[in-house]
């Protein structure tokens, strides 16, 4: 077992884990952060997306020990400090950019990473940002609309 110390959503956290434990399982099981979802565990579906040191990655393709000393943002981190939905979450609600909600946290993480770069993304940029996140419910249209809406709102607010 290794002690892993990391920053999650701005908060210092630590827990011990076997080296073989994925960051995904560590977040869910050891830190109780359930928003990050397990879809395929082989790096294709994107449901487990998190931000590692500013860049979106698959948490199923990282061992938790690798995150020691690093900073992670999970979908929980897209809430406001008081626990209410942040602008991306609220935009997904407004545009109904989801159905079953399973791929949604990964999609929102991908959207967050994109909107950090630009609040007026082109369609191509949106496609590139969520191209590695599979959704089986929506056919993506309302997700793309939710991301555009979130961008507009972020732009208006800034």
């Amino acid at each position: 077992m290794s002690m892993i110390k990391l920053t999650v959503n701005g908060v210092a956290r630590s827990a011990s884990a076997e080296p073989r434990m994925s960051l995904l399982d560590f977040l869910r099981e050891n830190l109780g952060l359930n928003a990050t979802h397990m879809g395929c565990e082989h790096g294709v579906c994107g449901a487990c997306s998190v931000i590692l040191d500013g860049a979106p990655v698959r948490s199923c393709l990282l061992f938790a020990v690798q995150a020691d000393g690093h900073a992670i943002t999970t979908a929980e981190g897209l809430r406001k400090d008081d626990g209410t939905p942040g602008v991306i979450m609220d935009s997904f609600m407004e545009a109904h950019g989801l159905q079953c909600g399973y791929c949604t946290p990964g999609m929102m993480i991908a959207a967050h990473a994109l909107l950090e770069q630009t609040t007026s993304p082109s369609d191509d940029e949106i496609h590139e940002a969520i191209g590695g996140n599979l959704c089986r419910c929506t056919g993506y249209a309302q997700i793309v609309e939710a991301i555009r809406l979130a961008g507009r709102r972020m732009k208006d607010a800034s």
């Binding site: 080296p19 073989r20 082989h42 994107g46 860049a55 393709l61 061992f63 020990v65 991908a110 590695g132």
Partner: protein, 284 residues
Amino acid sequence: MKAASFDYIRATSLDHALSALAESEDAIILAGGQTLVPMMAMRLARPATLIDLNEISELAGITNRDGYLSIGTMTRQAAALASTEVNAQTPLLAKALSFVGHTQTRNRGTVGGSIAHGDPSAEIPLAAIALNAEIGLASRTGTRTVTARDFYTGPLSSVRRTDECLTEIRFPIWSGTVGVGFQEISPRHGDFAIVAVAAQLEFGADKVCRRASIAVGGASANPVHAAEVEAALVGKRIDPRLANEVSRAVDPILSPTDDLHATAAYRRRVARVLTERAILEAAA
């Protein structure tokens, strides 16, 4: 789908990594992990020791030196793709990188990891073979350089010894007027290629092709260098008729096999089509 247990070593320097590699039985190097980790999760790979290179900053970075663009083995694919240096000096690599996986896998996946893994249809090895990049290897006993065309010995296998670690990949910088073409067919955007063709051409002021590098991936055990096609282009002005004609020369060098996604016959036919298109793209 949980990995079997292993010992984890977070290497803090290249020397540390090389020592650990020399001293550990049955150790595997962990670079970006975008291929290795799923293999471990499926228990298709089960190292006793995993040596993590991700904290070694000396292994990442892009340097323009002695006519080569040296890319540190741990340079993230995303960093290489975003690099203006890569784009300006090795445009073929830049183009190839845009076909690799997705944003999230490129943020973690490394240039060296892809080279070391050696998937027959992967884009970075294809670009490396097209340009005959030089691959720097280090072990506790010394360093050596192997050219990309001499590096692979079969699918997922290379001349790298188990005590060796890639340190850098040196892509030659072409001067003059250079055009590149990268053509790939995959069922979906971001999938591994079924067949891919990389072409880099240099042209004189008269638009005559002075130098050509072409390689085909996905249609043999490793990407293959299409010397005959290159020879047929040098000294000529490229037009569609010529591209069509010379692309036929890829056929004899291919040895494709059937798999779930494509038959050998498909790969063979498509390799020719994509060669023709890559040449025209590079000449455009």
